[in-house]
Assembly symmetry: C2
Homo-oligomer: 346 residues x 2
DNA sequence: CTTGATTTTGATAACGTTATCATTTAATTA
DNA sequence: TAATTAAATGATAACGTTATCAAAATCAAG
């Protein structure tokens, strides 16, 4: 069972040299082999059930034609589409994917990095588990980072323009006449520092003579699991609504938070969007099937994956010098049911 | 760059034989090597930056310590958790995962099967793209199928007891006093034949002298994308409600359908669960954050993944004979906000 | 036919590990 | 200390493919 037929067996079977057999079975293009012998080899191979040993081939060739993709958690709705984007793109180039999760655990992440090196992948797409992730081990490996943190100087990065996306949402709410917009943020040890969100909010408001205070800022811890975060966010939202806020709109820094806000609003009987507009960020499936459907600032994950893959392959196959690029993709505001013009209250 | 240090380089560096170096660096357990030489080797290895070449090791050992997992589509909410279950389990055994998607395309699926064989994975967990998927290529490979279709005789399979789960939901609705229950089904070319659902429904109703007719059966095509299915399901639901049904409850064969029903109900102003109870099946995230939250028959995907992994490894490491097992896991009824006692209408 | 060019095939050495011995060194006992 | 046993190290052959070069076969042209 374990002893599969090899190229030598095929050669013996059809009384040809293993070199010619190799040329027929594994050789690239159809170069330098007579049609007659080709057929002879193929039928012999079929007869004894030869299956190419990619392991041996990769080893000899010192190339794996594979890339790694390191993420935190596959069950986070953000990643599967991203991976799909990567897969679809690299398939064309003949590369295969090694997918590694680290469960937000820097130690596992390091182990994964080591594994990449040792298994000789030719490049990697990495979503760092935290802003200070240690990439030393990967020095000699072409990598693309999925982040917009400015901590990673000198690396190729690709990410959505979250800041621009946030402004997009705020502007739309402003157009709708909202002058008291709350900011719903999920802080967390692993996600990048999010003080910039508060800053953008403040700038936005002061530029437009809008009121903003800490009372319009809802904070809640994001946990590793989406569901837990949702529950914590609901609690935060209830607390926020309990103290009679002037807010007519909420911008949430991700869809889970936004959906939590929406849920509580539904629960309490606040009409969305008539009495309260809610805009989220990310564009997860749940937001497309909630009631009402969630207006959100979409990050095109499939596109990011695809672009990252292209960049990586370009980098892998680049001759010598490579100029690190930072790609920032614009977000897109997807207007759905949870946002609308402000209505005079009561 | 591409020329990394090898075990021979390390041996030269510390003037020892490559055999001893190998024993220190890659050998299992801490057998047969003096502490002094161990240190000598390790420091030499560190000095010249030796990284084990797993490729070469696997090749020589003729073992990859890896398994494949073949699914249709990573963005289908069903799979990520399943994969996570597999990953968590096999990590303990030191295996790694090769994850392959086929986009519901039997041709890609076949290619993936071939790839498994050629890359010498030691086993595979396979969710067949359709009930007649061709597994011939995998003859000599230990595999576990994720299906409850009875088309796969002689194979190890593991799946949830969908039939039992459906009865669970129907019984609960019956307890709640519902006597007119609609069945919301998503037919599709790739999912297994679902005529059994109708059969169970009919049996259930006739056993309890309950009314059932085709008018209480909502059908809609399930497409590859969850979102598309959702949209089609909404249309079907609207049509269903337009002709004034006696139904006080709906059982949907998956959560996407159930959420579509819920969405339409919210839209039209039908109070859930007061005027209409809805129960879905699967237990996807979106059902936990909808309003109201969705009562559902949960399939524990992580558990399935974990069990499949255990079974597979057991099978891989089994001495010789292996008795094919069919594991059927019970579903669990998760009662949330979308179901409740029937209320006298108007 | 010969000659030379061209195409097709063959022989063989890697690739970097692990596994199997044989050999040396150290430890134990008489 | 010599003899015996155990522990530690060394030498070397695989694993199955690809790559390189050499050899043979075929073809083209004189």
């Amino acid at each position: 069972m374990s002893s599969k037929a090899t190229i030598v067996d095929v050669a013996r079977e059809c009384s040809l040299s293993q070199a010619t057999v190799a040329r027929v079975l594994n050789g690239q293009k159809e170069i330098q082999v007579k049609e007659k012998t080709r057929k002879k080899v193929l039928s012999a191979a079929r007869k004894i059930g030869y299956e190419r040993n990619i392991l041996a081939a990769n080893f000899r060739r010192q190339k794996t034609k594979s890339i790694a993709i390191s993420i935190a958690d596959l069950t986070n709705p953000f990643f599967p589409e991203l991976i799909k984007g990567v897969q679809n793109t690299i398939r064309e180039y003949g590369y295969s994917i090694v997918q590694l999760n680290n469960e937000w655990n820097p130690k596992i992440e390091q182990d994964n990095f080591k594994y990449m090196i040792q298994s000789r992948v030719e490049g990697a797409i990495i979503s760092p588990s935290h802003p200070r992730a240690d990439l030393k081990v990967l020095e000699s490996l072409p990598i693309i980072l999925l982040t917009n943190s400015d901590k990673f100087l000198g690396y190729d990065t690709i990410a959505n323009d979250s800041k621009g996306g946030m402004v997009l949402a705020l502007e739309r709410l402003f157009e709708f006449g909202h002058r008291n917009i709350a900011l719903f943020m999920g802080g967390s040890m692993m996600s990048a520092d999010s003080s910039w969100r508060l800053q953008i909010m403040k700038d936005f408001c002061s530029n437009r003579n809008m009121f903003f205070s800490d009372d319009l800022c809802i904070k809640c811890d994001m946990s590793v699991s989406s569901l837990e975060s949702f529950s914590q966010a609901r609690t935060a939202m209830r607390k926020f609504l309990s103290k009679d806020t002037p807010a007519t709109a909420i911008f949430a820094s991700n869809d889970i938070l936004a959906l939590a806000a929406l849920h509580v609003a539904n629960e309490i009987g606040i009409k969305v969007p008539d009495e309260l507009s809610i805009i989220g960020m990310d564009g997860i499936l749940s937001g497309e099937i909630s009631y009402p459907t969630l207006t959100t600032v979409e990050k095109n994950r499939s596109q990011i994956g695809s672009l990252a893959a292209k960049s990586l392959i370009e980098k892998i196959e680049a001759p010598v010098e490579w100029q690190a690029k930072k790609i920032i993709l614009p977000c897109k505001l997807i207007e759905r049911g949870s946002s609308g013009p402000v209505r005079e209250k009561k």
